[in-house]
C-alpha cells in the first residue's frame, strides 16, 4: 500500500514533468509557483496535524527567497542547488531560533506570535535600503551545474527543478509522517499530557516540526524567487501567510499529495478569477473557501479517502 503510494507519487510527478512539454508557457509558470508554494503548505500540514496554525509562515518563505536574492546580488554563486540549499539553511536556522519561543505557545497565541515574527521581518525589509526596501530587487537567473538556459528553456528548466525538489521533499515528508515523531501530530493535538508521560517532550517535538516546516517554507521561497526572479517585502506580509493557510484548508491535512493539488487549484482559481472578474477576484476566492469549509471540511485530500472508503462499505 505504502510502496504503491510512493510509486503512484513518482508516476504523478513524472507525468507532470513530461506534460509540461505540451503546456502553454503561462501554465508552466503558474504550476511552477503553485508547486513551490505547495512546499510551504506541506510544512503547514505538519504543524496543522499537531493542532497548530501559524499565521506567519511567510517569515520563512521570505527568508528563503531573500537568501537566494542576496547571494545572487553579492556573491558570484549562481548554482541553483547551492542557493536553494542556502535558502533552506537560513530558513531552518531562523525557525530553530524562533522555535524556542513559539514551541511554548499553543492555539491563538502560537498563531499570533508567528504572525508577529513575520511582520517584524516585513518591517525590517521595508525599512532597509540594502535589502531593496519596498520595491525589493531583481534575482539573478540561476545555473544548473554551469549550464544557464535562456528564454522558454529557462522556464521549463525551473519548472523541472521545482518538480524534482518537490518530489524528493514530498517523499521525505511522507517518510516523516510514518516516523514516531511525525505520527505524533494527532496525539499532541489530542492529549499533550499523555505524550509527556510516555516520555517525550511535546515542546521539543513541536520545535522539530517548526524547523522542518521552516525549512520547507524556505525552500519554497527560494524556488519562488528563482521562478519569479524578483523578491519584495510582500513575501513576508501577513496576507501571504494567509494565502498559505487558505491553501492548507483547501488541501486538507490528510495527505502529502493534497498540498500540491490544493496549491495548483488555488493558483488556477486565483488566475482565472483575476482574469475574468478582475474587480471581484477576492470574492471568488472567498466563495471557494466558504464552499470548501461547508462541503469539504477535511479538504480536497478527503475526496480520495471518501472514494477509497465507499467500496469497503458496500457488501
Amino acid at each position: 500500500m505504502r510502496a504503491g503510494s510512493t510509486i503512484l507519487g513518482a508516476l504523478a510527478f513524472g507525468a507532470l514533468a513530461v506534460i509540461a512539454l505540451w503546456l502553454p508557457p503561462w501554465l508552466v509558470s503558474l504550476a511552477t509557483i503553485a508547486f513551490a508554494n505547495a512546499l510551504v503548505v506541506l510544512g503547514l500540514i505538519i504543524l496543522w496535524r499537531a493542532g497548530l496554525v501559524p499565521f506567519g509562515q511567510a517569515l520563512f518563505y521570505a527568508i528563503g527567497a531573500y537568501a537566494v536574492a542576496l547571494i545572487g546580488r553579492y556573491t558570484p554563486i549562481r548554482d541553483v542547488f547551492a542557493v536553494i540549499l542556502a535558502g533552506a539553511v537560513c530558513a531552518g536556522v531562523a525557525a530553530y531560533l524562533v522555535g524556542f519561543l513559539l514551541a511554548r505557545y499553543r492555539e491563538i497565541f502560537f498563531s499570533m506570535l508567528s504572525l508577529a515574527m513575520s511582520m517584524i521581518l516585513y518591517g525590517v525589509l521595508v525599512k532597509t535600503e540594502t535589502l531593496g526596501s519596498t520595491d525589493g530587487f531583481h534575482v539573478e537567473a540561476g545555473s544548473f551545474f554551469g549550464y544557464r538556459p535562456e528564454g522558454e528553456a529557462s522556464n521549463l528548466a525551473t519548472y523541472w527543478l521545482v518538480l524534482g525538489i518537490c518530489a524528493v521533499l514530498a517523499w521525505l515528508v511522507a517518510l516523516y509522517f510514518r516516523s514516531i515523531a511525525g505520527a505524533l501530530g494527532n496525539p499532541i493535538r489530542d492529549n499533550e499530557i499523555r505524550v509527556e508521560f510516555l516520555g517525550l517532550s511535546v515542546d521539543r517535538l513541536i520545535h522539530l516540526k517548526l524547523v522542518i516546516s521552516g525549512v520547507l517554507a524556505g525552500i519554497g521561497g527560494a524556488l519562488a524567487a528563482l521562478a519569479v526572479q524578483h523578491v519584495d517585502p510582500a513575501m513576508s506580509y501577513w496576507t501571504t501567510s494567509g494565502g498559505f493557510v487558505f491553501v492548507t484548508i483547501l488541501a486538507g491535512a490528510g495527505s502529502v499529495a493534497a498540498a500540491f493539488v490544493g496549491s495548483l487549484v488555488f493558483e488556477l482559481v486565483r488566475s482565472f478569477a483575476v482574469d475574468f472578474v478582475p474587480g471581484e477576484w477576492q470574492m471568488i476566492l472567498g466563495t471557494v473557501l466558504l464552499l470548501t469549509i461547508l462541503f469539504l471540511p477535511e479538504g480536497l485530500g478527503s475526496l480520495v479517502s471518501r472514494l477509497r472508503r465507499k467500496p469497503e462499505a458496500s457488501p
Binding site: 505524533l184 494527532n186 489530542d190 508521560f197 516520555g199 522539530l208
Partner: protein
C-alpha cells in the same frame, strides 16, 4: 527487600497553602501500596511530585538510588516510573489499537526527538507489544473503537496499559476505579493487579474505596492534612480509630450504601 522508592521530608506549598509536608516513605520493590485520605489530604500532590508533574518545595525523592527530585515528568518516565490519571489520559480521536501502538512505539523510540524522526512508527516488534498489552489488559474486543467512545472502565484500562508500555518498575495509579460502577470496580482491579504482578511492577495506588484497598494493598499510607498519619498493613490501618476519625472523607462503606463515616470513627 531494598527500597525502589525513597521519599524524605517532602513538602509542597502553593503560596501560603501547604499541600503536603513532612512526607517520608520507603517503598520496597514488588510491594503494592494503597494511598488513602479524604479529598485535599495531599494524595494526588504526593503522586504528582513523584512523577514530576509538580516540583517539590522541599525534600528529596530517590528512585532505585538515584535522585529524581524535580526532574521533568518525561525524564522520570524514561527512568522507570509511570502513572495513570484520575481522568484517563488517552488519545480520544484514535482507536485503542492506535493508542497502544503509539505508546509502544514511543517506549521503543528511546526518548530522543531527532531519533524519533528517523524511527518508523510501525514495526513488527511494536505491533506485537501493542497486541500483547491489549490482550493482557483484556481490551481486545474494543481494539478498533475510538477511545472517545469507550466505556469509562475500558478507558481506564487503556490509560493504565499505555502507562505500562514503557516497562516501568514503579507505577502510580491515581484513583483507578473513580467514576466506575461498584459492580465493575473489583473486576477492573483484578485485571489491573494481575497484569502488573505478571510484569513484576511495584504499585502505588490512590483509592477511596476501602474494600479495594483492603483486598489489593500490601500496605497502606493514610494521608491527612498533607502528611502521612499511618503507614501499616491494611487491616491495621483500616482498624485504626484515628485514621477513621481523620479520614472522614474516605468512607469505609462507599461501596456499601448508607454506612457513612462519622467524626468519632464509628459508622452509621
Amino acid at each position: 527487600m531494598s527500597a525502589i522508592l525513597s521519599v524524605r521530608d517532602l513538602e509542597k506549598t502553593f503560596g501560603s497553602v501547604v499541600a503536603a509536608h513532612a512526607i517520608s516513605v520507603d517503598v520496597p520493590s514488588g510491594q503494592t501500596v494503597g494511598i488513602i485520605g479524604s479529598n485535599g489530604a495531599g494524595k494526588t500532590t504526593f503522586v504528582n511530585m513523584i512523577t514530576g508533574h509538580l516540583r517539590p518545595t522541599k525534600g528529596s525523592i530517590h528512585f532505585e538510588g538515584n535522585a529524581i527530585t524535580g526532574l521533568p515528568s518525561r525524564i522520570i518516565t524514561r527512568l522507570g516510573i509511570s502513572r495513570s490519571f484520575q481522568v484517563a489520559q488517552v488519545f480520544p480521536t484514535m482507536t485503542v489499537a492506535d493508542n497502544m501502538r503509539i505508546a509502544c512505539a514511543i517506549a521503543r523510540g528511546g526518548g530522543g526527538i531527532v531519533g524519533c524522526a528517523f524511527q518508523p512508527l510501525d514495526s513488527p516488534e511494536t505491533a506485537a507489544e501493542a497486541d500483547a498489552a491489549i490482550e493482557l489488559f483484556q481490551i481486545a474486543r474494543y481494539r478498533n473503537l475510538r477511545a472517545v467512545t469507550l466505556p469509562q472502565g475500558v478507558r481506564k484500562l487503556l490509560d493504565i496499559a499505555m502507562a505500562v508500555a514503557g516497562a516501568p518498575r514503579l507505577l502510580l495509579l491515581d484513583e483507578p476505579t473513580s467514576g466506575i460502577s461498584i459492580e465493575e470496580k473489583f473486576g477492573l482491579m483484578e485485571v489491573v493487579m494481575s497484569a502488573l504482578k505478571s510484569r513484576n511492577i511495584t504499585v502505588l495506588f490512590v483509592e477511596h474505596d476501602m474494600e479495594i484497598v483492603g483486598r489489593f494493598a500490601d500496605r497502606v499510607l493514610a494521608f491527612y492534612d498533607g502528611t502521612v498519619i499511618a503507614d501499616e498493613r491494611p487491616d491495621t490501618v483500616l482498624a485504626n480509630p484515628r485514621v477513621q476519625t481523620l479520614i472522614s472523607g474516605t468512607k469505609r462503606a462507599q461501596v456499601g450504601g448508607d454506612a457513612v463515616g462519622r467524626p468519632d470513627g464509628s459508622h452509621a
